[in-house]
Symmetry: C2
Subunit: 353 residues, 2 copies
């Protein structure tokens, strides 16, 4: 339906003749049912979604624990080099599940649409989501759609929740780091955050940086298989970057961390973009990287398994866990000094995921 | 933190000295961790949430099927007679799970906060959510918080997802209605939608109508226990009201329905408010009612069980399933006539859930 009355919206205003989301799409009537069928089911279809109920009935998985996670996605812009809000919404929740060592199985997807969103954008996002889910081996089994009036959202927000199952006997948790454990990082940092920032027009620079947004469950399966009981915990350094994640883990485990600055890989163009913006890459979000804390005996096997996986090729030990009840994370510089890695209180990169 | 710069926001502007949500609360740093601890964990705390990980590891439930559901909540206003967005977000997903006959077990909760939201409002919402979860016997085991800039959301949006488990051997689904089955409605319709509409100032009327928002899992357990294999399906008539739900079910099962207008209970004040607004209560949302389709032999036991439960006291048979490949839903009037109950294409009541 064309809508000639678009004013004051954050949505693209170029083409008045394309189909857009209207309030009727959220009203519970036939327009909503048609949208769900034509856009969501067409792209995401699977036997559970196709049941057409308000919930999905699934086989009860076999394994150690049922794992559940959720993430909301409000990223701006919706499309960025290396991904979009749809693929990101799959990767984010798949990765949160995988960080527990779980095999991700099922996702739910809830959309909050702003009136006026071009239906072509929504289709592109949902198709991207479907591709990401297929690649990660998970099914989007149930969903929901709401529409809010123009100016009460920003294009589209997506919340995914996920369910997975851990292997019997595996318990990974943020409170399990102990002095002597190795801290492993799977690859370069800052790619996602800087790819998104580069897209925001007002920053006035263009680069070739692409988001690292990716599903880490394949890498995780290889890690669990290789390092098994030596593996203590994994976490993906998303919002707040490596610095926030290390500080969170140090606090949760009641330990300190010593990090070797030279062991942290930052791509040259990411470093350059960070310098322009006055950012330290350790505070910049990643969407396809993980940190693992592993007992010393497990380090060689873990690094070998990670190095053999496309998403872990640059994996390396970046530091070690030390005794420190104050939970300080210290960066050791090449010059033999050390500086505290702060846990930023404030906002560096808004709407990055 | 007080914020003197609130302009053009949909949030209340009365008190400039109260604490409000800022962009730092969504940045992944310490401010966010503090918000999560002080507001979310303080109200919702349970052993799984207290693990402090990005996911919850839960016991694998025993039963027939694992059931998963999600719903986004964008209701305006956030607070209304009989509930608020927090209790509604629990009831909505608990009910979607319960409609499959499942026992709801675990919820996730994802918050999208608008910069400037009073923290007191957020606390009240989260506490209401905690109370609703406690009453329904479910735990909020994991969550997420995002903050968007002022004018890019509307106070707070909440998406919940839930997991439950069905009894072995029970399969309820929207495609199981067959000619001859009875259609049972658990109580009066239109309460939620009219309670919310009455709150929206510009409608200019005040009533004593309260939302029926409630968790239906207790009622459902009694129904499953009483009617067991006779029960074909259940669904809660939320957005789009009774009319949309009956039409959806008729289409899904490939049957027609004949509804007895006189059997549908509408409270006098709801009917009056609907008349003022030119609405038919069959199109108005409910948040604490359900429709069940049941084989004729199961009707007496089902009605007895429902009548004995506080949320099913007014339960009655409102119609029957008939053969009709075109899936028509016909309202039979006291005068012996019949009229098609339309499946509204358009928007009647925006932002009702």
């Amino acid at each position: 339906m064309s809508d000639p009355s678009i004013t004051g919206s954050s949505l693209s205003k170029g083409d008045r003749d394309i189909d857009r989301v209207t309030m009727t799409h959220g009203a519970g009537g036939r327009a909503m049912a048609d949208l769900i069928r034509d856009v969501f089911h067409a792209a995401l279809g699977n036997p559970w979604l196709d049941q057409g109920n308000d919930q999905a009935a699934l086989p009860i998985p076999e394994g150690g624990s049922l794992v559940m996670s959720t993430d909301g996605f409000v990223i701006s812009p919706l499309f960025f080099p290396g991904g979009d809000i749809g693929s990101l919404a799959v990767h984010g929740t798949v990765n949160d599940l995988a960080m527990s060592g779980a095999r991700p199985l099922y996702l739910s997807a809830s959309f909050i649409l702003e009136e006026g969103l071009p239906l072509a954008d929504l289709r592109r996002i949902v198709q991207s989501m479907a591709g990401a889910a297929r690649d990660a081996g998970v099914a989007v089994v149930t969903g929901d759609t709401k529409v809010v009036d123009r100016g009460k959202a920003d294009g589209v927000f997506i919340t995914t929740a996920g369910v997975g199952v851990t292997p019997v006997g595996l318990t990974l948790s943020g409170d399990r780091a102990r002095p002597g454990d190795g801290i492993v990082l799977s690859g370069s940092i800052g790619d996602h955050g800087m790819a998104v920032m580069a897209q925001r027009e007002h920053l006035g620079f263009e680069t070739t940086i692409r988001s690292d947004s990716a599903a880490l469950n394949g890498l995780v399966a290889a890690m669990v298989s290789a390092a098994g009981p030596h593996l203590k915990l994994m976490r993906d350094p998303t919002r707040g970057g490596l610095a926030a994640t290390l500080n969170e883990l140090a606090r949760q485990s009641g330990v300190g961390m010593r990090i070797d600055e030279q062991a942290i890989v930052v791509k040259a163009e990411v470093r350059a973009a960070c310098e322009i913006l006055g950012l330290d890459p350790i505070h910049v979000a990643n969407e396809g990287k993980l940190i693992a804390v592993v007992a010393p005996d497990g380090v060689p096997a873990l690094l070998a398994a990670m190095g053999a996986h496309p998403l872990g090729r640059e994996a390396s030990v970046i530091g070690r866990v030390v005794a420190d009840p104050d939970g300080r994370v210290i960066m050791e510089t090449p010059f033999g000094g050390g500086r505290l890695i702060p846990w930023m209180a404030g906002e560096q990169l808004p709407r990055i995921c």
